[in-house]
């Protein structure tokens, strides 16, 4: 009985008329790599993200959690302007990277997306060989000049992604022939082949089995030393395992930000608590 009541309360809260909700917790960090201020995202008339302000620190893993449709993926895709490809999407506010607003008209998105790489929910290697999958992006960005450059980049990227040992003898085979987990690590190798500074990960493990997930999580831990990582995840265990800071989104608002440990042990906002204790999701 108590449970049902609780559930009703939760639903009431979720469905209640929305007013702008302020973010609880410290949004800024001491050494930020990206600074987002008052970011709003609209799909046509519909507002998907409301006044989100947050910093992403150097060499940290920032996890973004929240129920489906809360806008966490939308926000992540703002960070390297992937939303540009959606026709009626509009972004306002400031996202600073190297002290420049990435939405400034003078910014060229092509090098920007090389600096801020992205790994997607579903492993999406190109229908090319493993080698070509990794060498493709450096080649179009002019990083590769000779065959030996390419060989080197392919090897180091695959090594960093922890895939080299498994594929070094079959680099000329199609990338789609690998297992799901291997494909996702190939996608990570592909993203780091252009030496990005930030890697955005959009639920990278949601299509993978637990063993492959564990491998990717270990990899994220290693990559943190060299890259700044923002990861969207549905799994709260994953967020607590891999991230240093966690941001909780709800219906387009950034509800709470804080150190991962703090968020998961003593959340300040009622919604956060309800979510991480599994009352809704």
């Amino acid at each position: 009985m108590q449970e049902v009541l609780n559930k009703k309360n939760v639903e009431k809260r979720i469905l209640a008329p929305r007013e702008s909700r302020d973010t609880i917790g410290r949004i800024n960090v001491s050494n930020p790599r990206m600074i987002c201020r008052d970011v709003n995202v609209y799909y046509g008339d519909k507002q998907a993200i409301r006044n989100v302000s947050i910093d992403i620190g150097c060499n940290e893993v920032l996890a973004m959690i929240g129920p489906s449709g809360c806008g966490k993926s939308t926000f992540l895709r703002c960070l390297n302007r992937m939303n540009d490809t959606i026709d009626n999407c509009r972004v306002t506010g400031e996202i600073l990277f190297d002290d420049k607003d990435i939405y400034d008209s003078s910014i060229d998105v092509v090098p920007l997306r090389a600096q801020i790489g992205m790994v997607f929910q579903k492993p999406n290697p190109f229908p090319k060989t493993i080698y070509e999958n990794v060498a493709w992006a450096p080649r179009i960005h002019g990083i590769i000049e000779s065959k030996s450059d390419a060989d080197e980049i392919v090897e180091t990227s695959l090594q960093k992604a922890g895939l080299w040992g498994e594929v070094k003898d079959r680099l000329d085979q199609p990338g789609n022939g690998l297992s799901g987990g291997q494909q996702q690590r190939l996608c990570i190798a592909r993203a780091i082949a252009v030496s990005p500074e930030v890697i955005l990960m959009d639920e990278p493990c949601s299509a993978l089995d637990p063993i492959a997930t564990a491998k990717i999580e270990d990899l994220i831990e290693e990559l943190r030393t060299q890259y700044t990582i923002a990861i969207v995840t549905h799994s709260m265990q994953q967020a607590s395992r891999v991230s240093q800071r966690t941001a909780f989104f709800h219906l387009g608002d950034l509800i709470e930000v804080g150190a991962t440990e703090a968020i998961f042990t003593k959340p300040s906002h009622q919604l956060t608590e309800d979510y991480i204790t599994g009352r809704y999701g």
């Binding site: 390297n80 026709d87 092509v110 997306r113 999406n124 190109f126 229908p127 993203a191």
Partner: protein, 448 residues
């Protein structure tokens, strides 16, 4: 719905589906079997010595020594026929005038048939048309002519209520009591020795030009014309179609203008092909004057306009079926839109685009109406690649119609008509087969 009903429904659905597929296969068989058997007859048949003479003299094919020996072998029998005719001509002189007139008209039709069978009768003026310079080249035609020689066709019209009935009267009766009466059993007996039929494998049907308006020779001019027209159409339509498809799928925004363009494209796909033919004449030849009159160029352009909507559609479908994730991955790696299209989307869409292209190529090869006014001539020489801008060409689709309906000797050259249909069907099937193979190959390469 209970499980019994569901099962019955499932089964009856399967049965209806299978029946319709079987009916289709049967219909296809009914159409294809006569075409194939008739068409093979153009290449594989019992050829007479006249066929071999023609091949040697006109195309320089065959063995002269063997032929000379065969001519020497057949000549005595032929000489006997001509001797009988001469003897009868002498006998004719002794007849009284009325009888002479009667017999001379009868003997002239005998002479006609004999010269049709064996070639020109010695002593007659040398014929100008090639068709009269040689006898019957195909044994089954020789047998038909033999029947004409042996029997006079008459019509029984005694009953005015009914259609006339055909009946045959032995021709030998007409000459009863004259010296020519011996000719008929002689020819019937010795026709094989005069014509020496042999199983012939005439590849030249596909690779040689036609002689005397397809009465002899092959259909290379038509095959080549068809290929020129189809490939020419492809050269225009394929790049334009793919670029248009890229525009529609990747660049066009959804607005009134693009939806008008889209519906225009769908409408074009449904326009009857004769309309394209008239448009080609009015626009390409009369208005912008790509050539003075019919030409391969004008025909190719017309065909290109006709197949363009299909290519755009196929390419559009192929591009849309490329997983969005490829595009996302490419954009996410900092690739430009153009590079994404060229290096990621197009390669992945290639099997579909090529399939659409080759099916359109097959359609362009088979269409008749668009080329009637713009490119096709009924009888023409094989043209060179340099002439495509200015010269019209014979083409299979048009000449099939022409030979079957407008040719003066349409009945004599059924084998050529069948052969052309078979050639056209084979070209289209080969194109489609290569599309399937190419598609399989590329998809295999992409998927691994």
């Amino acid at each position: 719905m209970n499980i019994g009903t569901r099962k019955i429904l499932d089964r009856s659905f399967t049965a209806v589906g299978l029946t319709s597929i079987l009916l289709m296969a049967l219909a296809l068989l009914v159409v294809v079997v006569p075409i194939v058997s008739g068409g093979i007859g153009a290449i594989f048949f019992k050829g007479t010595i006249e066929h071999r003479k023609l091949q040697l003299r006109e195309f320089d094919n065959g063995n002269r020594e063997v032929l000379d020996r065969q001519i020497a072998e057949s000549e005595p029998y032929r000489q006997e026929v001509f001797r009988m005719l001469d003897a009868f001509a002498a006998e004719l002189e002794t007849f009284e005038p009325t009888r002479k007139r009667e017999y001379s008209s009868k003997v002239s039709s005998v002479k006609d048939i004999v010269s049709h069978l064996l070639g020109p009768v010695p002593g007659e003026p040398e014929p100008i048309l090639l068709r009269f310079q040689y006898g019957t080249t195909r044994w089954e035609k020789a047998e038909e002519s033999l029947h004409d020689l042996m029997f006079v066709t008459k019509w029984d019209t005694s009953n005015p209520e009914e259609m006339g009935k055909q009946y045959f009267v032995p021709r030998v009766d007409e000459f009863a009591g004259t010296s020519l009466a011996a000719l008929f059993p002689y020819i019937e007996e010795n026709l094989e020795k005069m014509l020496l039929p042999e199983q012939t494998f005439y590849w030249g049907f596909l690779t040689e030009r036609s002689l005397d308006a397809h009465i002899f020779g092959g259909v290379w001019a038509e095959i080549q014309g068809t290929l020129f027209l189809a490939i020419g159409a492809m050269l225009f339509a394929f790049p334009m179609g793919v670029i248009a498809a890229i525009y529609f799928t990747e660049y066009a925004r959804e607005n009134v203008f693009t939806s008008i363009l889209r519906s225009a494209n769908s409408t074009l796909a449904g326009v009857p092909s004769i309309v394209f033919g008239l448009f080609g004449l009015a626009f390409f030849i009369n208005t912008i004057k790509v050539s003075d009159s019919k030409s391969v160029l004008a025909g190719s352009l017309t065909l290109a306009i006709m197949i363009l909507p299909t290519i755009i559609r196929a390419a559009e479908e192929a591009i849309l079926s490329v997983p969005k994730t490829y595009k996302e991955a490419s954009i996410g790696l900092g690739s430009t839109k153009w590079r994404t299209i060229v290096t990621v989307i197009l390669p992945a869409a290639l099997p579909g685009i090529i399939t659409g292209g080759i099916i359109s190529l097959g359609r362009a090869a088979g269409e008749t109406a668009p080329i009637i006014f713009t490119a096709a001539v009924s009888v023409g020489a094989t043209i060179g690649l340099g002439d495509v801008l200015t010269s019209p060409t014979p083409a299979l689709s048009w000449n099939i119609y022409n030979l079957a309906s407008e040719h003066e000797a349409a009945n004599e050259i059924r084998h050529v008509q069948y052969g052309m249909v078979l050639a056209l069907i084979s070209i289209v099937l080969l194109l489609n087969l290569s599309a399937i193979l190419l598609r399989a190959r590329i998809s295999k390469k992409l998927k691994g």
